[in-house]
Symmetry: C2
Subunit: 231 residues, 2 copies
């Protein structure tokens, strides 16, 4: 503890709360921290080389975002959800994607449309190569472009938030054989509708593109007995 104080005088060490929030939420989203994992304040404080005070603030913020669950006098826990809630998130995601696609079809600038189409075409090779990692990156950018193209900041926030909460539960997305090609084809349908400014078609294509999976047994298995409580 004294060491810490001394160190702060020399290097500007210690992380800010914002950085911690980012770091922890990244760990949750990427699956480094699985649903059900306990986040005790002291360990985190040591890990980030700060005192418990900023850690607590970060955890509270994560709690407000829904990434962790906090009960009084108990450690924060990476949020685990019931299958019903998971299903509701996927369904909501489909609706949000549909809204974004619809609005994108109506509002994207010429440049945005062109860029979307270009990127989409350019990544066809990833499908043939079966490059899962790279395709996943392309996929993220594709969807982000849709979200931005809607030109509605609040919708953007909602969809980003939902996507983050959903991320821990769909990590193995492109592992299944043929999923890449199917995804790419569905993207193509969305792109076509947007280029035609066909809002209804874009919305439908985007809605059906979201795989509404409520089976998270793999994740639930690792989370163990927490499962029942988070209802």
């Amino acid at each position: 503890m004294v060491k810490q104080a001394r160190r702060r005088e020399i290097i500007r060490a210690g992380t800010t709360v914002e950085q911690m929030v980012r770091a922890i939420s990244d760990m949750i989203v990427t699956g480094a921290l699985l649903p059900g994992a306990k986040l005790d304040e002291v360990s985190l404080a040591v890990r980030f080389d700060v005192s418990r005070t900023p850690v607590r603030e970060a955890l509270r913020e994560l709690g407000a975002m829904g990434l962790v669950v906090r009960e009084p006098n108990r450690s924060a826990v990476v949020t685990n959800v019931t299958e019903a809630y998971l299903h509701s998130m996927f369904e909501a995601m489909a609706e949000l994607e549909a809204i974004c696609a619809k609005l994108s079809a109506e509002r994207m600038t010429v440049d945005e449309r062109r860029a979307l189409e270009l990127m989409h075409r350019g990544s066809m090779r990833l499908v043939h190569a079966g490059a899962q990692e790279e395709y996943s990156a392309y996929n993220t950018e594709f969807h982000t472009r849709l979200y931005r193209g809607a030109h509605n900041d609040h919708v953007f926030e909602m969809v980003t938030w939902t996507r983050a909460r959903l991320a821990p539960f769909r990590r193995a997305q492109f592992r299944l054989p043929g999923r890449l090609a199917k995804s790419y084809e569905e993207h193509g349908r969305i792109v076509t509708a947007i280029m035609r400014a066909d809002a209804a078609a874009a919305g439908q294509a985007a809605y059906s593109h979201v795989e509404i999976v409520s089976d998270a047994s793999a994740v639930f298995a690792t989370a163990g007995k927490r499962r029942a409580r988070d209802a």
Copy 2:
């Protein structure tokens, strides 16, 4: 400060963080705290009879909810938004209401449908009486029933969150003459569609029921010079 410690031994005084979050967010939502108002930690600490630590946590949580804006080394400020962002929230609200109405038309139980219709009919008298306060309460319950009737918890969270953020900007809702009757009639259209399980009609009726108003000049006026900065 010593006084505080002594007092805590006698009465269980001091508010919990959760209570403070509730209290402050209520003040923001009801308009007791106008957009642009500064929330300094010490004043709040005194007001709630706690130290700055829990106040800071409450403010951080409110920040994560979007009700206050926090910049480094600066007081938290009740969120003010640009007209563009305000517009995006209203538009998002319309989309969310449409989703809820659509899903309600598909999924409400018989009891839920009956209760909705009964409440709606029962409050016709409020329109004739011009009872703005009571109508406002009915209105809130009406919409909440729609949100619940969608049977989608994540959508419920999003719509509740959006409504809370929007609340400070539409307080004078039912003041305009004829607005009550118009609102009631629009509700009627939604109810009818839901009773018929006509999802598309319910969605459209709900969408057009949301008045997309992006003129918040009244609120902005009180917020003063903060207005320009919150972009």
